[in-house]
Subunit: 607 residues, 2 copies
Amino acid sequence: MPKIKFLPQNIEIEAEDPAPLLEAARLAGVSVETPCGGKGVCRKCLVKILDGKVEVQAGSYRNHKENHVLICQANIINEPVTVEILAGLYGEEGQFDDLSTPVYLNNSETDALIKHVDLTIAKPALLDGFSDFDRLEKALKNKIDFEVLKIALDVLHDLPDKIRTPHDIKIFYYIDAGILNIADISGGAESTENYGIAIDIGTTTVTLWLIDLYTGEIKSRKTDYNAQIECGLDVITRINYAQKHLEELRDRVIRTINNLIKIVCAENNMDCKKIRAAAIAGNTVMTHLFLGICPEYIRLEPYTPAFYKLPLFNAGELLLDINKNAPVKIAPAVGSYVGGDITSSALSTPLISDKSEEIILFFDIGTNGEILLGNNEFILGCACSAGPAFEGGGIEFGMRASRGAIDGFKIDNGEIHITTIGDAPPVGICGSGIIAVAAEMFRHKIIDAAGRFTNKMPDRIKKDKKPHKFYITEQISISEADIDNLIRAKGAMFSACRTLLNNTGLTLEDINKIYIAGSFGKYLNITDAVTIGLFPDVGKDKIIYIGNSSIAGAYQTLMSGSKREKEREIAERITYIDLSGEAGYMDEYLAALFIPHTDLNAGGFSE
Amino acid sequence: MPKIKFLPQNIEIEAEDPAPLLEAARLAGVSVETPCGGKGVCRKCLVKILDGKVEVQAGSYRNHKENHVLICQANIINEPVTVEILAGLYGEEGQFDDLSTPVYLNNSETDALIKHVDLTIAKPALLDGFSDFDRLEKALKNKIDFEVLKIALDVLHDLPDKIRTPHDIKIFYYIDAGILNIADISGGAESTENYGIAIDIGTTTVTLWLIDLYTGEIKSRKTDYNAQIECGLDVITRINYAQKHLEELRDRVIRTINNLIKIVCAENNMDCKKIRAAAIAGNTVMTHLFLGICPEYIRLEPYTPAFYKLPLFNAGELLLDINKNAPVKIAPAVGSYVGGDITSSALSTPLISDKSEEIILFFDIGTNGEILLGNNEFILGCACSAGPAFEGGGIEFGMRASRGAIDGFKIDNGEIHITTIGDAPPVGICGSGIIAVAAEMFRHKIIDAAGRFTNKMPDRIKKDKKPHKFYITEQISISEADIDNLIRAKGAMFSACRTLLNNTGLTLEDINKIYIAGSFGKYLNITDAVTIGLFPDVGKDKIIYIGNSSIAGAYQTLMSGSKREKEREIAERITYIDLSGEAGYMDEYLAALFIPHTDLNAGGFSE
C-alpha cells in the first residue's frame, strides 16, 4: 500500500495498488474537478507530480517539462507519490468564500432552529403513575409552553437510561406548527456540543458552513464542486438528464454534501450526530433534485415547479449524514428560476431585508444569473441563463476560481502582466480573469466592440485557423469564440437588468446601490466588469460585493427565528418576472451583444 | 428443486435441496411452533409425512408407525414431499379468533385513523404563482379545515405527475395535533383501495386483522406465534433476554407481524402499500420490545416503564411492511403489567366502554393474567403472572389451542372420551383441555383438593416414578406436576380477583357480569373453569366470553375517532393496583392453591 501525499492540502493516505489516482484523491477527501467525467478530454484536472511516479494512460495529455498529468488518467504503481493539486478547492480555507462576508446577525435575536433546555427530571417513584416519558413531559412543561410533545424513536430508545443518570439532561428540540419535537437528549457525561450547518446548493458548487449553535460562531467553511456537474453544466441540461437519471442526480448532490459534512466534522474532531439542524438554500432546480423530485415541469410551459415553500423535513429522510432527527429547513423559492438561494440572499442583503426606501439592484452572477430590483415598496426578480462563461465553462482554457487560475491581466507598454489565484503557476483562466482579459484587450483596442481581434499585438495572435486565438502565456490563450461566449453571458445579464428597469419606469439614476453576489465576484474587478458592460456604470462607490449571500442568509435562518419569519415575508414580497414572457427582452438582449453596449447613450448608460 | 406440499394449508412450493424442512415451511408462510428454538427437544413441531421422504437428524425423536417427525429435525432430500402440519395456526381461518367476536362499532361514527378526500386540482397556469404543492393545499383548504400541511417526501416525489393526470386525485391523510399530514395520493387510474390493520401483540401469539377502511369490513384475520417465544415464554424471561438481545427481540416480533402482513396481502391479492394505517395493542413489555425500547426498568423497583402513551409514529420508522407513511397508533398502557391490550380490551367491552353502572369483572387469561373490576365510577386493574399453563406451557404434553389439541375430556362409566381441535388425531393438550381434564378428574375424585392422584382409575395411572402420571390416551398423559402448575396458575388469577374485591369492599354478589377475554377462552368450558376455581361461581349466565377483545378494541380505534378519544379516557379511568405492593395478596394466593378453594365459604364463593 504505497503512501500518496496531496499538496497543498498536505493530506497523506495509504492507497490500494494498483488504483486510479483520482480514487485516492477522493479517499483523501481532496476535491478535483472532473467536469468531463474523468474521460481525459477537458484537461481541467491537471496535477503536478512532485515526487515519485505514476502510470499515465497511453495517449492521454501530459506535460513532461512541468511534470503535469491529468489525474483522471493516472494510476498508482507500487511507489509513494507526492501530488500537487493545481486546481483544488479544499485546503485553501476561505478561498471561495470570503471570510469577511457580512452576516448581519444581531446576537441578541439568536433563536436557533434547534433549541436546547436543561432539565432536572424527577426520580421514578413507586406507583406514582408516571412513565419516563411522562416525567420528561412534566419537566419540559415547567420550562416551555407547548401543546403536543413528540419524540423521535431513537431518542425514546435511550430515554430510560439517560433519565436515570445522576446528572441533569439536556434536551435538543424544535417547535414546528405548535408541536414540540425532541430530536436528541444528552445525559450524564455526554458532550453537549450542538452544531448546525448552512448549505448553499449551487449548480456548480456546494458550500457548507459548520456553526456552533450556542455562539453562532462559524467553525468551518467548505466548498466543493456539485458532483452533478459531470451530468451537465447548467440547470437545463440537468433537468433533461433528470428525465432518466433523477436518482443519480439526487445521489450526486447528497454525496457532495455528505462529503463536506465528513470534512468539517473531521476538521473539528466531532461526531456528525452533534449536527442537529440544517438550513439549505438552492435554486429551484437544485432543491428539486436534492429532494429527488423531477424538475421537468419547470422546463415545460406553464413552467410550474412542484413546490416553492415546504414544511420542515428530518435529516434522515433527506439522507443527510447528520443527526437523523435534525430539522432541515429549505429556503422558499419565488419562481421557477428565482429560487430559495435568492430569497436567502435577499434576506442577508441589508437594504432589502431592512425594507429600506433606497432602490437597490441585486446581481447574483453564476451559470444562472438572477437580478432583483426594488425597495420597501416592491421587489421584482428575474433570472437569465448566462451560460457557464462566468464560471470558466465553455471557454477553452476556462476554469473555476481556484488555485492557478489567471484572475488579473494588464498590458503595460506592450508587456502582459498576469496574476493568479494562490500565486500559483497559471493553469487556466477563471471567470473574473476572462472579464479582466476582455476589458483590458478592449481598452487597448485589441478587440473591437463586437469582440473581434483587431490588428494590435499581432505577435500574440494566431489566425491560422478558426477560432482565432490571443496567447496570454505560451500555453494559455483566449479565442474569439471565448470572447463571444463572454459577450453573450454579459448581454443576458445586462438585458435582464434593462428589462426590469423598463418594467418599473426607473432609470439607472434612481439606483442607490448595486449588490454583487456570487463566489465569482471576489476576484472581480468592478471597473473591468463595467468596461465590458456586465454592470451598468453607476459609479464604483455604489457597487458592493457581498460574496455568497445565499449561504449567509441560510446561516441567519439557522440562527434566528425572526430571520426565518423575515425570509418568509421576503419570498412573498418578491414578484417574479418571467423574461421569456417579456416582449422586449429579446430586443434588449440582441442590442446588448456588444462591448460595452450598442448604443452608448441608451438609457443613461455611459462607458 | 423438489416440490414440497403442506397440508392442511394446501400450499406447494419449490424448495432448495438440500434444505431444512422448517425453512421450506417458513418460505411457504406455514407457521410451525418451535418454542425450543428448533433444537429438537420440545417435540411441539410434530408433522406427519404423508408422501415422499425426508432425512431426519440422527437420534432425533420420530414415530415410525404414524410417520411423525419433528419438522425442526428434518431435511429435504431430492424428492417431493407432502407434509401434514399437526399443530399449525394458518389455514384454519378463525380457529384462534372467533369470527363472531362482537366488535360494537356503530358505522355512523366511522372516522378512520387515515382519511381520504377526492380533490379536483386546478390546472397549472402561466405565472399564476402557484406551485403544485400550493395548488394541492388550496384544493384541500376548500374541503377540509386545517392550519398546517405536511407531506411525506415520497408523496411529494410523485405529486407533479399525479397532479397532471386528467382525473381527480384521492388524498389519504391524517390529522395529528392540528397538522394535516398527507400520507399518500392515488391519481389517474390507480387503485383507490384503502386498508388498515389492527394488531394484538401478545406474549405468545400475534393476531392481525386486515380491514377495508371504507366499509370497516374485516377482510382477513390471522394469528401466528410471536417469534419471541423461542427466547422465553413469559414477559419476565423476555425482559431478562432483552438486556443483551434487545434488537433480536425487536426483529423477531417485527418479523412475525410482517409475515402476517404478507399473508393477508397475498390472500386479498393486494399491495401492502395500500395499508395506510395501523392500530396496535399489546402489553407494556411487548410494546416496549416492538419499539426497540429495553423494558428492564419495568422489572426493577420502582417498576417504571419508558412510556404509557405515545404520539403517533410512521410505519416506516417502526419497520412495518405497509405504506411507510401510515400513521401507527399504539394503545395507551395503564401500568407496567396492565398494558395497552387491556385498555384496548376495556374499550371493546361494552359495559366498561359505555360507563354502565353495573359492576363488572374482566379477566384476560394468558401467560399474564389481567383483571379489571369496576363500573362507571371506578375501575381497578391488576395483573398476575399465571405462568404458561393456560397456553399449554410447562405441561409435558401441553400445546397451544391448535389442530390436534385435546380440548374436551369426559369420563363416562369409567370410559374416557376426548375431543380435539379440528377433530384431528390427538397430539397434546391445550390450556382449556388441561382445565377440562383437571375438572373432570376432580369431579370423579381421581384427584383431591390438593391435586394429588387418589386411588381411582389406577389402570390409567403410573406411579413408578415421580411425577405420577395419568394416561389420557396411550401416548398422552397428565402428571401431578402438570396439575400443580395449573393450580398455581388459577390460584394466581383467583387471588388477584380476591385482592381487587378486598380493595373495594365489594363481594361477588355485587358483580353483574364477568367478561372472559383471551384466545384460550374459546375452547373453555365455563363450568370446568368454575369447578377448578379459576372463576368465581357467580352463575353461568353472568359469565360472557368475548374472545380477543384487545384486537377488537384496536379495530375500533382504527375505525373511529370517538373510540380513540374514549380509549384515552379509559386509560385514565383505570387505577393500577400493583399486587406486589398489596399486603394481603400472598396470603390470598397461598390460600387459593386448592381445588376449587381452601375455604369453600370464604367471601361468598361456593363450589
